[in-house]
Amino acid sequence: MSFNILSPGLLTTVQDLGRHGYQKQGILVSGAMDAIALRVANLLVGNPEDSAGLEITYLGPRIRFEADHLIALTGADLSPVLNGERVKMARPVWVRRGSVLEFSTPRSGIRAYLAVAGSFAIPKVLGSYSTYLRAEIGGFRGRALKTGDLLPCIGLTPQGHKLWQALAGAYPAKDWGQAKWTPDPQLYPQPVASPVIRVLQGPDYELFTESSQHDFWHQEFTVTSDSDRMGYRLQGPALFRDEPRELLSSAVTFGTIQVPPEGHPIALLADHQTTGGYPRIAQVITADFSRLAQVPLGQKIRFQRISLEDAQCLYIKQEQDIQQIKKSLQFKIENA
């Protein structure tokens, strides 16, 4: 019972919601770049939302399913195709053994998430299934998937099996199919090509010159091609401090926007280092992490300032929306 990786795509890794609690030991959080998308994918197949799924980056893999499975795809629309037919995003998909999933032209966003009912049969490392590429731990053998890998699956859960039967039962002659229902797209972030990203001022904001502060709020920044899971390198007006002096290293996190001496900001992402010494001009709000993580390389973003109170309200609102999705999906699955 496994996913047979016929080709791995650009960067396909196993991720969950991250490895928390070890940053004081220098260990990265990692986890899904678009955590909301992974959570929704898991909920669609009846998994706990923090189960491990695949993060698929831009150019997707080809996967042959070596057993009957219930899967769901969320996040970026990378034009998924099952046995030659287009698959819709964000709904439970049943597949029979031997079916092949592949991807073609990316249509929106950059990272898709694939959840499978029951998730993968892989060990947890330090409390998480996430792949920590640099330290070569977690996920599937501590690395991105390669051609020929057999990624073992746990197999259909009772809930997943019930939904599989309900969806597939009416189509004995078909090799795959999907539910007609999908969560309300208003309830969770959808990829936007050139989004406005909301941020709070960072602890070192005041160190920057007035004109750099002005540029930060009013100019566009392009996500450059040397960006990765660690961070987006941004090209735009260079940002400088009044008096450049060395800062003491302190903690940095997902969404921290730091500015190295040459003036081009880096927005840190899931594989951010735990501490850093560059000045932190801003911090992306949690409710915009998904939107940021889905910006394709070469696209432009803008920053907008919001208050801490508003940022926390948006955070709580986002969690309430996920709870609503969870409830409605539980109802759908129970009554399937």
Partner: protein, 247 residues
């Protein structure tokens, strides 16, 4: 690194600032100095012993502790201004920490090092730069105790203070793309060990057979902030005997 003459921050009130919508930084000073380090340690110990609801984790650094929390968890408990709520918890913990007579943790970790040879390609450069013999460099490096101020940069990577100024040498002009795990290096006034293979610019003077990062262990980093470290010179034979992993 430790300058007892200059420690205004050791008594000044800690400064709190938000780090986005789910974190805050408690700043104890702005220099690498022992009194500040002790406050960081005392506050970290209080957080460890008295975690508040919604606490995710905390990250001590040279002069600050960053605290990550989940506003959703706090809002579920009926707290509608999560930041304000967390600052109440933090102020309570700070009061506890300031009255607490936190001594340096007694844990001393000995790090055996095979100096020079194929694993210490820059040892002779360090000796030449410092106008010392190789033997003197080793003797200075193994003399005295070092303090682990913080862990960062890579899993289990210690920021260590206490290097003898005589062997403080600049980093390499061009960083190596691959520094092997276990390498012991000097970069400016810092010395330390690379727990995993990474790119790095320090001058490599030797290698330890110990594994500083053990991903399967409950506490994966051999060293923790606040630990004392002593380097001990060992022979190649000893190195092979104590070696904990494949290179």
């Amino acid at each position: 690194m430790e300058n007892p003459q200059r420690n205004p921050s050791s008594t000044a009130a800690a400064h709190l600032a938000p780090v986005g919508d789910s974190g805050l930084v408690v700043q104890f000073g702005d220099a690498i100095e022992l009194p500040t380090h002790l406050r960081v340690q005392a506050f970290s110990a209080c957080l460890r012993e008295h975690p508040f609801p919604g606490l995710i984790e905390y990250v001590p650094a040279f002069a600050s502790v960053t605290v990550y929390y989940d506003p959703w968890v706090l809002s579920q408990a009926g707290r509608y201004n999560p930041y304000e709520e967390v600052t109440h918890f933090i102020h309570d913990l700070l009061r506890q920490a300031e009255t607490r007579k936190e001594k340096l943790r007694s844990k001393v970790v000995e790090i055996p090092v095979w100096y020079g040879g194929k694993f210490g390609p820059d040892l002779e450069f360090v000796a030449d730069y410092a106008q010392l013999s190789v033997k003197q460099v080793i003797s200075l490096h193994t003399r005295g105790e070092y303090l682990v101020y913080m862990i960062g940069f890579a899993p289990g990577f210690p920021y260590i203070g206490g290097l003898n100024e005589k062997i403080a040498v600049p980093r390499k002009d061009k960083p190596r793309t691959k520094v092997p795990a276990g390498s012991v290096g000097i970069g400016g006034l810092q010395t330390g060990v690379y727990p995993i293979q990474t790119p790095g610019g320090w001058q490599l003077i030797g290698r330890t057979p110990l594994q500083l990062f053990k991903p399967q262990a409950a506490s994966p980093s051999l060293l923790q902030a606040g630990d004392r470290v002593r380097f001990v010179a060992i022979t190649e034979k000893e190195f092979e005997r104590r070696r904990e992993y494949e290179f």
